[in-house]
């Protein structure tokens, strides 16, 4: 049976999607003495959205077709349909719709890919996608009413709800991933971050945030609060292993509890060209995949397989990796799978979440924003990957193309 000829009128072409720009708040310590302790979560994301609009006066706000904002714990100041409330609080026209989205740690990533899919099929031209997590106000899983069936039917090991325990599990599963390798990776993450900061690769993405403290008065958050540039291999040897007595995962090899928000503008290639919006990256493909919750950190491996397959690429085509460092061992499990060295310079050139922090649902867009800058600095690289693991056993991967590359074929119909 041969397929009937398609009716062009009834089908719309899949359109190119470009990453226009991204920004984030400085990331803060999710503790009572952290810089955002008295700052609302929704205020954090609002400031990022407003900064993006300020940076792009060429984008008429009424042309934004969707605001998708992620949070893992959607209650209190992260509740009430964030995307809609954030749009209103940011001063977007009331005609701009919005929604809240949740895929735990991959919230912002999912906000970006879901809205990008909408752009690709023509449902939207320009979107804002982002995420916020005020872990100080909303500890992970707080107030969640977990279905007793999970335990009764042994659907998951109850311990796998503790992310640190899943990291220990990875050490068990892959004995070659030693504590020493994890420690060295963590030390390197701090060092790379410090260097990136010194080289001016961090500050351009940051949106200053006025922070109030009833005790100290108003201040201004202008820098990440969590990095420990003084970290050395020796200095972290004595650390406790909070997730298992005699374990291998320490605070130094884990991303710290973090408050922060990120957002990005994505657009159809044609509309970006029409409005004069920059295209910092072109979306190539993406994929999400599930793994056993007990080894949730392994999630990026199957999700990357999916994304590569969809793109028709292999891992060798990827020239830059922005991998979320939930735990050092979890990144190492990915690198080992693909035979990439622990200190491969293509991986997290600016350091990662171990240094700057991981405000759960925000981190996905941070990876993208940084990859976009790295693309600019590496025109020789054609493809890059942003990937992250997700609690309860998932992974998310997005492959991007570098418009600065010599072989870039453009992102508009004319160019194509």
């Amino acid at each position: 049976m041969t397929a009937a000829p398609e009716t062009p009128r009834a089908r719309r072409a899949v359109r190119d999607v470009v990453f226009v720009d991204g920004a984030r708040t400085p990331f803060g310590k999710a503790k009572p003495d952290g810089m955002y302790a008295q700052t609302r979560a929704d205020d954090l994301i609002v400031k990022v959205v407003r900064e993006l609009l300020r940076r792009h006066p060429e984008l008429p706000p009424e042309r934004i077709d969707e605001v998708a904002i992620a949070a893992t714990t959607q209650q209190g100041d992260q509740g009430l349909t964030l995307g809609r409330t954030v749009g209103m609080l940011a001063g977007l026209p009331q005609s701009v719709p919005g929604y809240a989205i949740d895929r735990m740690c991959a919230g912002a990533m999912t906000a970006a890919t879901t809205t990008a899919a909408g752009i690709a099929m023509g449902a939207a031209d320009v979107v804002i996608a982002g995420g916020v997590e005020h872990m100080g106000r909303h500890p992970m899983g707080f107030d969640a009413d977990v279905n007793p069936r999970f335990v009764a039917e042994k659907l998951v090991d109850p311990q796998s709800l503790n992310m640190g325990v899943t990291a220990e599990n990875l050490h068990d599963k892959f004995p070659q991933l030693t504590k020493e390798r994890a420690d060295r990776f963590a030390v390197e993450s701090q060092a790379k971050y410090a260097k990136a900061l010194a080289n001016g690769n961090i500050d351009p993405d940051l949106v200053p945030v006025a922070v109030r403290s009833a005790e100290l008065g108003w201040g201004l958050a202008t820098a990440d609060e969590l990095p420990r540039p003084e970290t050395s291999f020796e200095s972290i040897q004595g650390l406790r292993t909070p997730f298992r007595p005699g374990g291998r995962v320490t605070p130094a090899t884990s991303s710290p509890l973090t408050d922060g928000a990120t957002a990005a503008i994505l657009a159809s290639g044609n509309v970006a060209a029409e409005l004069g919006l920059p295209a910092k990256m072109r979306l190539v493909s993406y994929g999400y995949a599930g793994v056993p919750p007990e080894i949730m950190g392994y999630g990026p491996v199957p999700s990357t397989e999916k994304a590569l397959k969809a793109a028709g690429l292999t891992i060798d085509d990827i020239g830059l990796f922005e991998l979320n460092e939930a735990f050092a061992v979890q990144v190492l499990s990915f690198l080992d799978h693909y035979g990439i060295a622990d200190d491969d310079p293509r991986v997290n050139p600016y350091g990662g979440a171990i240094a700057m922090g991981h405000p759960l649902a925000s981190s996905g867009v941070r990876l993208m924003t940084q990859l976009a800058r790295e693309f600019e600095q590496h025109p020789e690289v054609r493809y890059g990957l942003t990937a992250m693991c997700v609690g309860l056993g998932q992974g998310g991967s997005v492959i991007w193309e570098n418009p600065h590359h010599a072989d870039y074929a453009g992102h508009t119909d004319e160019e194509n």
Binding site: V46, K47, R50, V207, A210, G217, G219, L220
Partner: protein, 719 residues
């Protein structure tokens, strides 16, 4: 033991000065950011008292030494969320006992603020105010003393209301404002706006130059700091206007002086003192100008007018919770309102009920023509307000749709609240109530808007007199902030609570009054008017009598007031009061003739904002003007202006004494509140009883004060 000095007879709510370093973007250096914060929630604004001001000064001294050491590039001042500061702590000001202490109050503000004003000259470090919220009085002056100002789009109000409460902007405002925004706008900021009780919105403040930049509230402080960094680096330059030329300065001051002479006269000193300071601001050195502010401020703090103003200000504030009101929980729900009558007063009430209560309102009158007129008023008012942007088109539509008209009294059946506004004839009102009782449910509340008739008598023949309550509105209903709630003999707590609940929803202030003729406002207002007429009848020239009360600083002269309320209405109430209260309420055949002939009693005002003078032609109605001091037509001495004033104040004192004895209201405070809100009598008189106390009338006439010494005046005998 300085903490226990005798001056500190109140507990200061201390506004703290918290200082934090902020990195300016673009490597512009460190900004020392001062946050003013009293540590309390948004219901308690920052205010400045001696301890808070000392803390600010100490904090700024540290900042200054850091500036001298080159550690900082800029200084910023901002407030806790929603407030910079509401000004000086008024409780603190009224607890000042002598002139020296009062001077110190001014000096301490200058001492702190001047650090902000002088820092750039001495160290090159500029100062910024980030006005993130309400900034009134000393709260705005802290910003004015800085080199630059930004304002948040949601700041509730900016202004210098001092002259409205008997003070001058004495922490730099009087000197800095005319130099910053020009002398003409300075008169508006310091005199006109306070008199109208209308502070500035952020956009207005930007427009006249009180602030240099406006940023949206969502990231106000971030954008302000970025703006400050650009000023520091020179990327942004803020132009400053030249001082207005001397002739302009003189002309503006001269015009303002003429206006003050006509409107304020000698009734209160603050506006004149403020104008003197503005006049001198052009050429005075800052230190001299600030010393002059200290002196003027101290004189005013030690004036009875200022003390009475603060008393009045506090009365009005406290008036939002009516004294003597029963438990609000007793109020009956209102789902449908009936208004008996469709005349002007009725239609105004119908509009307001529909607007604020959001329930159906039915107006009933005897013939369809009147009903249609009433409905037309509602429709036209809605259109007018919508046209001016005071109502949304949807709200206007809703109001018009929710008011219906009828000639059938049966349509009141489903109303749970009916208010009558028919002609002021007892027999008619009783008939209306009797008819209504046969139609409405026994639970429904019956209210009367009578201005002078006995509510108790109106209810006397009803099966349920307990449901009858007086709710006396003033004309124009939409603008006048006062309602007198009348507690008749049988009025139940439920009816009373419902009346208070309605009043609150209508956004009026209620004063609870006993069922006595004229209640509070009309009894005193018409007594004053009658007394002036009486003097004229006896021979005092109309123009002399008309101006005789000028020292009180009432909102308008007597005949302009008569013209405003309508001579016929005035006569009607006056006559009604005389019937009930006897001969001490004067009769005026001249007034009767004016009403009968429909004569207009005033001329047009010579200019906008000036009083309307009495038409000298109406002298003829009263007979020839006689010479003061000689025997008049009544066989009494013909009074001059002072004599008329004395007669009025004497009779006012007597009457208020009687009202308190009769229990019309339980205390002088309710009389004062009613006269301030119902008659517009000025804060500087404290309503009226502080004035009668401080001028000695209460002791002379009654042998006692109305209010304890020191409550609304500068205490004469130290305890």
């Amino acid at each position: 033991m300085t903490e226990n000095s005798s001056t500190t007879t109140f507990t200061e709510r201390v506004t703290h000065a918290l200082v934090r370093d902020v990195q300016l973007p673009g490597g512009a250096g460190v900004l020392a950011l001062v946050t003013l914060d009293n540590g309390l929630d948004h219901t308690k604004p920052n205010t400045f008292g001696p301890a808070g001001m000392a803390e600010l000064k100490a904090a700024l001294e540290v900042v200054r030494s850091r500036a001298e050491a080159g550690e900082i590039a800029a200084v910023g001042v901002t407030g806790k969320p929603y407030f910079v500061a509401a000004g000086a702590d008024l409780k603190g000001i009224t607890s000042v006992h002598d002139h020296a202490e009062a001077v110190e109050l001014g000096r301490m503000g200058h001492a702190a603020y001047t650090i902000l004003g002088d820092l750039r000259a001495t160290t090159g470090v500029p100062t910024f105010a980030f006005v993130n919220g309400l900034a009134l009085g000393g709260g705005l002056e802290v910003a004015l003393n800085c080199d630059y100002r930004t304002v948040a789009s949601d700041a509730a109000a900016l202004g210098l209301p001092e002259t409205g409460i008997g003070l001058i902007p004495g922490w730099g405002g009087a000197y800095l404002v005319p130099r910053l925004v020009g002398v003409e706008k300075a008169v508006e900021v310091i005199l006109t706006r306070p008199a109208a009780n209308k502070p500035y919105k952020p956009a207005e403040a930007l427009q006249i130059g009180l602030v240099d930049a406006l940023f949206e509230a969502a990231d106000f402080l971030e954008q302000s700091i970025i703006w400050a960094a650009k000023v520091v680096t020179g990327e942004i330059e803020v132009p400053r206007r030249e001082l207005d030329p001397q002739p302009v300065w003189d002309a503006v001051i001269g015009a303002a002086k003429a206006q003050l002479d006509a409107v304020v006269g000698t009734s209160r000193p603050a506006p004149g003192r403020a104008l003197e300071l503005i006049a001198g601001a052009r050429d005075a050195a800052k230190t001299d100008a600030f010393a002059a502010e200290d002196e003027a401020l101290a004189d005013l703090i030690m004036s009875d007018e200022m003390r009475a103003s603060i008393y009045a200000f506090n009365l009005v504030g406290a008036g939002k919770k009516p004294a003597g009101a029963p438990d609000p929980k007793l109020a009956r729900p209102i789902t449908r309102v009936g208004v008996v009558g469709a005349g002007l007063m009725a239609a105004q009430m119908a509009f307001l009920f529909a607007q604020r209560l959001g329930v159906p309102v039915v107006m009933r009158d005897l013939d369809q023509e009147r009903v249609d007129k009433g409905l037309a008023f509602v429709r036209e008012t809605a259109e007018k307000l919508a046209g001016r942007g005071r109502l949304t088109p949807e709200a206007a539509t809703r109001i018009v749709a929710s008011v219906s008209g009828t000639t059938d009294i049966g349509e009141f059946a489903a109303c749970d609240f009916v208010i009558e506004a028919v002609t002021e004839v007892m027999g008619l009102k009783k008939k209306v109530f009797a008819e209504l009782e046969g139609i409405i449910s026994p639970e429904a509340i019956l209210a009367t808007n009578t201005s002078a008739l006995s509510v108790t008598e109106m209810a006397a023949d009803l099966a349920h007199p307990e449901r009858v309550v007086g709710i006396h509105f003033f004309n124009p209903v939409a603008q006048m902030p006062l309602v007198e709630v009348i507690n008749a003999e049988h009025t139940s707590d439920e009816a009373l609570a419902t009346a208070f609940a309605v009043t609150k929803k209508l956004r009026k202030t209620a004063v609870l009054a006993g069922d006595r003729p004229g209640f509070v406002v009309n009894r005193l207002l018409l007594l004053v008017m009658g007394k002036v007429m009486d003097a004229i009848e006896n021979g005092t020239p109309v123009d002399v009598a008309d101006r005789a009360l000028a020292p009180l600083g009432f909102p308008m002269p007597t005949f302009e007031l008569l013209d405003l309320v309508g001579p016929a209405v005035g006569l009607h109430v006056l006559t009604s009061l005389r019937e009930d209260l006897g001969d001490r309420i004067p009769a005026s055949p001249g007034l009767q003739k004016l009403v009968a002939d429909g004569t207009r009693v005033v001329l047009d005002a010579p200019a906008k904002g000036l009083p309307k003078p009495v038409d000298p032609a109406i002298q003829a109605v009263f007979g020839e003007a006689l010479v003061a001091g000689e025997t008049g037509r009544h066989g009494q001495v013909v009074l001059d202006g002072d004599g008329v004033l004395d007669a009025v104040l004497t009779t006012l004192t007597t009457e208020i004494g009687l009202m308190l004895e009769e229990g019309v209201v339980p205390s002088p405070q309710q009389i004062d509140l009613a006269m301030i809100l119902g008659a517009g009598w000025g804060f500087h008189t404290g309503g009226i009883t502080p004035y009668l106390d401080r001028t000695g009338y209460s002791e002379k006439v009654l042998g006692r004060r109305f209010l304890p010494d020191g409550v609304a005046n500068v205490q004469t005998r130290r305890a």
